[in-house]
Subunit: 366 residues, 2 copies
DNA sequence: TTGAAAGCGATACCAT
DNA sequence: ATGGTATCGCTTTCAA
């Protein structure tokens, strides 16, 4: 036995072995009523004398008492839990949101239940049911089809937030970055570097969704008098970026610059260009979209338009917890129709930023 | 002046729309008692006639009834919730575990509460308290110091699992891959390709933790009669890998092969080698450790020893939910000392696998 | 300022 | 096979 001078285990509570202490135990030990214990723990709604407050705090410490959130939730009808539904956790873009939503939620005093559909068809229903039965106070969706999100949350009277969706959806708060503006930023950056053949690689979007990145690229390219001919569709992952570049460079007159619809696509594109013996940025320049952490450690480092992950996540949590103020006219259509409380809608858009690194020639030719 | 006359009396005493239907509503509509409704929902513990069962199921459908997990948890003392504590979500190694633990948990019918400490000193206490107060039935820790995990869970009587920790810890189930064997695999692979100067780059480990990767590399290198001189310590991230390579190649006789302690380090190393004009694998070969998704899309693709993420996560969930069988002698020290139920311990180790890709010359020099 | 007590919704035992 | 009901831990109104 080493003479471990570490901190001694704090004096163990000497209460009944198998049972967690309850508020009644605290009250008994402190010599007060259970109501007073509540008042102390919640700082209200009634005042407590300093004397009793200390006795209660002491009893709590001695017993190692922890409030039971289930009981609290049952009484109050609020769990202080938020549900986060995502299609796939390993996508770094999603991971960024998971990270910042987790932070924002804990700052608001909320717990976060995360559920991935693992891109399994029809899994949304089960995932949401589980979350709802656990009593989440609000739901945040990422990369989930709004139609599906609406269907599986039908009849629920809790705030629902859709992340990264470019259109308003009745009954939801939609929060997104300005993909059009971001695409313009990215493309304009390449135009200004003198590129004439600027390609756009993207994954396939659901038909219902306006393709704002495409629009931004198109408008910017056209305004510069360049061709919109270099538009390739693929899948939203690394393999997609790789394949798209391979196709692009089968053409007689391949592009000199690429705007990639996501970081993942850009990383795959980088790999393909490397295989083809093309140098980045001297042979081909690239700007990516999203600005996840890996853009800083690709070869070369990726210039990208970045998502305001924190701002979006904070807003999402604020709405999901009911903290955020809705726009003034948002409660206009509260028709009280058939008594179904029509949840308020809002559409919030944040601007994106251009971060110049190496892949666009940012710190090479200038 | 808004005609806002305060909160509307939204609730009508009749078919109150704002209120979720309860078991009593179902019982009333079905014309049975609440007990019968329970028996139907839980398939027991008492039998119910086919006739009544259908009436109840019907009523549930009509009302859109959802059981209230808070009430259930209060009565049963079990939330069907697991807590997952991690230091940092954006680390792809962690994301792999989040993904596979989420999958395993939902397959077991459990919800997952995730909390990151965001690597903030002392944040573990608050994070665990929140999880515990929400009543999680078990806790899973990843990359959390066992001392800290033990301290912040003191006095708790729920299963605690430590992921990716190489030693048994009293009161915890520790689950890990065999890092020693993995390191041997990786190093041996480089030895067999004829490398004489094989470096090992790793991050700094807590002093209390046996450095199994280092041991595996050392033993394998020594057994081959090679030098153990190329050992560099850095940080466990991409920047660390980059810096370590830069240092390594300041030496007069730099290594011809690198075993990287993590994928992130390998990716940073790749970047530095690129800067230095070294080609991978022809000038320098690399094998990485972990086998996260990005190893398939680095330039070149990384040969790596891979973690059995699914197997580890499934075991973790099985233990955390109390489903898994503990080894026979694990309950030996149930001394019932002072009535404090001594939780069982176990240490589970899974083997790693070598996946050969390009960075080690795997598909280049055959 | 404090205590007593009525519920929140679900479970399951004790009756029938 | 079914109904009535005490109970889980906590919040808060009402009474003192």
């Amino acid at each position: 036995m080493p003479t471990n001078a570490g901190p001694m285990p704090a004096s163990q509570p000497t209460n009944t072995p198998g049972r967690m202490p309850t508020r009644a135990d605290v009250a008994r030990l402190a010599g007060v009523s259970t109501a007073v214990v509540s008042y102390v723990i919640n700082n209200g709604p009634r005042p407590v004398s300093q004397h009793n407050k200390e006795k209660v705090l002491n009893a709590i410490r001695i017993l190692g008492y922890r409030p039971n959130a289930s009981a609290r939730a049952l009484k109050l009808g609020s769990t202080q839990l938020l549900g986060f539904v995502v299609t796939e956790i390993l996508n770094p873009f999603h991971a960024e949101f998971i990270n910042s939503v987790d932070l924002a939620a804990s700052q608001h005093g909320y717990g976060l239940m995360i559920s991935s559909t693992h891109e399994i068809e029809g899994r949304e229903q089960g995932v949401v049911s589980s979350l709802v039965e656990h009593g989440v106070d609000g739901l945040i969706f990422l990369s989930v089809d709004p139609q599906v999100a609406a269907r599986v949350t039908e009849g629920l009277d809790i705030p629902r937030v859709l992340l990264d969706y470019p259109h308003p959806v009745p009954g939801f708060v939609t929060i997104t970055s300005d993909a059009y503006q971001g695409a313009c930023l990215a493309t304009q950056h390449l135009v200004e570097r003198g590129h004439q053949r600027i390609a756009y690689i993207e994954g396939v979007l659901p038909a219902a969704r306006t393709n704002l990145r495409l629009l931004g690229w198109q408008h910017t390219v056209e305004k510069a008098g360049l061709t919109t001919d270099y538009h390739v569709q693929t899948t939203w992952d690394r393999a997609g970026g790789r394949d798209a570049v391979l196709r692009l460079f089968e053409r007689p007159d391949p592009p000199s610059a690429i705007f990639a619809g996501s970081d993942l696509i850009a990383v795959g594109a980088l790999q393909a260009l490397h295989r083809l013996g093309k140098r980045v940025p001297s042979d081909v320049a690239i700007v990516s979209f999203d600005g996840t952490a890996e853009t800083e450690f690709s070869l070369p480092m990726l210039t990208s338009v970045t998502q305001p992950f924190s701002a979006i996540s904070e807003a999402a949590v604020a709405y999901a917890t009911g903290t955020a103020e809705l726009p003034g006219d948002a409660r206009n259509n509260a028709s009280a129709l058939e008594g179904v409380s029509q949840r308020q809608s809002a559409h919030v858009v944040y601007p994106m930023n251009l971060v110049v690194r190496d892949s666009s020639g940012g710190s090479v030719s200038q």
